[in-house]
């Protein structure tokens, strides 16, 4: 997947590799972990307060990029719905079988239901396969941002960053 954030609007694999919020592949194989795809120095830090395990650090100045401590992170996913940029995901490559679980922030209505089959898309919006929705959770604290967990083919754990459903988001019914 090519890509360059300021040119194409999404992160290239190179950019991801050097991001301080992205854990190693090895860590993802050990269990669910946050993947923070935030590499620009913008003034923002709600992720830091969202983490009950103190696994995310922004510090001062507030324009620092978030740094993830992958050993402290439990993959609980509380940060996923708190990031105003919708840039945090949880990836779990520890599942048995050939699947991965990806938790992503989702702000389209209606929410998907557990068990629903959806197209899954990569960072560029290309459909890379089908996935099964495991959960779609909102609480008062998530303030209308849902955390949707989708089961995808294992090789797409680090590729899938969205779901596409007919008749829901504006571009869902048009291609």
């Amino acid at each position: 997947m090519p890509g360059n954030l300021s040119q194409d609007g999404y992160l290239s694999l190179d950019e991801l590799r050097s991001a301080p919020g992205v854990p190693s592949h090895d860590r993802m194989r050990r269990g669910p972990v946050a993947v923070i795809e935030c590499v620009q120095e913008i003034p923002c830090n709600p992720c830091e307060a969202a983490c009950p395990h103190h696994a995310i650090r922004v510090g001062t100045p507030i324009t620092n990029c978030p740094v993830l401590d992958p050993e402290k992170c439990t993959g609980c996913g509380l940060c996923v719905t708190q990031c105003p940029g919708l840039a945090i995901f949880v990836v779990d490559l520890s599942r048995s079988g050939e699947t991965a679980a990806v938790t992503l922030p989702y702000e389209y209505l209606p929410l998907p239901e557990a068990g629903e089959l959806v197209d899954v898309v990569d960072r560029s919006g290309e459909v890379v396969g089908r996935g099964r929705v495991l959960r779609a959770a909102t609480t008062r604290a998530t303030d209308r941002t849902a955390a949707v967990t989708v089961e995808v083919a294992r090789e797409h754990g680090m590729n899938v960053r969205g779901i596409r459903r007919e008749e829901v988001d504006g571009n869902g019914h048009d291609r």
């Binding site: 609007g9 620009q40 105003p84 940029g85 303030d143």
Partner: protein, 377 residues
């Protein structure tokens, strides 16, 4: 005639914050806004804001407006909604006119006017969208991104079925996302610059939703008889000239223009404030000192009206202007004022990072233009 300590123009984040600070200190303050609904642009910002906790990070803009309004009302800030300032006379006599008829008057007869005797004035009238001229730009369906955002988020009306967004700054990216949320298709975003101007995370949201972003592209014309039926775009070269043979047509019924904002300087100009041109701040801007006082003593400026920035900086500037505008009346040494110093520090932090570098420099350049705006109180 009503007498107030501070008259604030604009009930957006800067104006409400200014009103709150004056009222907190026991001052009589009135906030005038031409709209019936207060909150400025916040009322249509349905996304979660960036920043830190003290800037309401993670809270949706529309909810920040509600919080500010509740605080202002609890503190006794007077709001004059649907009224517009039409004159600022020497000595801060401010004339207002009812711009939007309320149910009581029904709009019959001459619009009522009223005069305020204000000891200080804070101009927080926000920004206006830049226009873009191209063939067909007057067709129905060509609109500012702000108009499209008002339609979907305030009035719940879709502006059309398929949109071409012109401009990949934060406004273009955010409004694109919100159009998608409203069930509108966005065919593409075009951007004349070779790079996306807005935050990468905003771009990433709409890219994974399937919206292409074409950098180094401009709009050549809107096509249609009575309304927009299509848009023709082309790639541009390094000198911004369209490259022949690269034309592409998009089948769209709406063209949204998101090519930047400029400060609303009309009242500042009317009041005789000296304006300076600052590209980084969005164009002409009232010259102001570190306490946001303009070249006319007692007239302050805050928020986008003092240079295009974010809601978080507008809130901070509003607070600062409110404190400075009120405290000057009591001869408190603003320079020694701890609260003002703390706000100035927070503003400095917000203006850090590569995305805001130009703003910090431009703001401090205002203070070194060789002209003393108004001696610091």
């Amino acid at each position: 005639m009503s007498v107030v300590d501070v008259l604030v123009v604009g009930a957006g984040p800067a104006g409400l914050a200014a009103g709150i600070e004056v009222a907190k200190r026991g001052g009589r303050v009135c906030v005038v806004d031409r709209n019936l609904e207060p909150g400025g642009q916040l009322v249509k910002q349905i996304h979660k804001f960036f920043g830190s906790r003290e800037h309401h990070a993670g809270v949706r803009g529309v909810d920040i407006a509600a919080q500010l309004l509740e605080e202002a009302r609890a503190l006794g800030v007077t709001l004059r909604l649907g009224w517009e300032v039409f004159a600022i006379r020497p000595g801060h006599a401010v004339d207002i006119v009812q711009a939007v008829a309320d149910d009581a008057t029904g709009g019959a007869g001459d619009a009522p006017t009223e005069r305020f005797d204000a000891r200080s004035v804070v101009l927080a009238a926000g920004a206006e969208e830049n226009a873009l001229q191209f063939e067909g730009w007057t067709l129905a369906g060509v609109m500012g991104a702000g108009a499209a955002q008002t339609l979907i988020n305030v009035w719940r009306v879709r502006p059309g079925k398929r949109v071409l967004m012109v401009g990949a700054g934060n406004v273009g990216l955010i409004v694109t996302y919100q159009l998608l949320q409203a069930g509108v298709t966005v065919a593409a975003i075009i951007e004349a610059a070779p790079r996306i101007g807005g935050y990468g995370v905003h771009a990433a949201k709409i890219r994974r939703a399937g919206v292409p972003i074409l950098t180094s592209h401009t709009i050549l014309r809107a096509e249609g008889v009575e309304c927009v039926e299509g848009a023709v775009v082309a790639q541009v070269d390094g000198t911004w000239c369209p490259i022949e043979g690269t034309e592409r047509r998009f089948d769209v019924d709406v063209i949204c223009v998101a090519v930047g904002l400029h400060p609303n300087t009309r009242l500042a100009s009317l009041a005789g404030c000296r304006l300076v041109f600052s590209p980084a701040l969005g164009g002409w801007v009232p010259l102001h000192n570190a306490f946001l006082e303009t070249t006319v003593p007692g007239i302050y400026v805050a928020g986008d009206a003092a240079g295009i920035e974010e809601a978080s900086t507008a809130l901070e500037e509003g607070r600062l202007a409110g404190i400075a505008a009120y405290e000057r009346l009591r001869d408190v040494d603003a320079e020694g004022h701890a609260e003002i110093a703390a706000i100035q520090r927070r503003l400095d932090d917000l203006r850090g990072g590569p995305f805001c570098g130009g703003i910090r420099a431009a703001k401090s350049a205002l203070q070194t233009t060789g002209e003393t705006p108004c001696p610091a109180t």
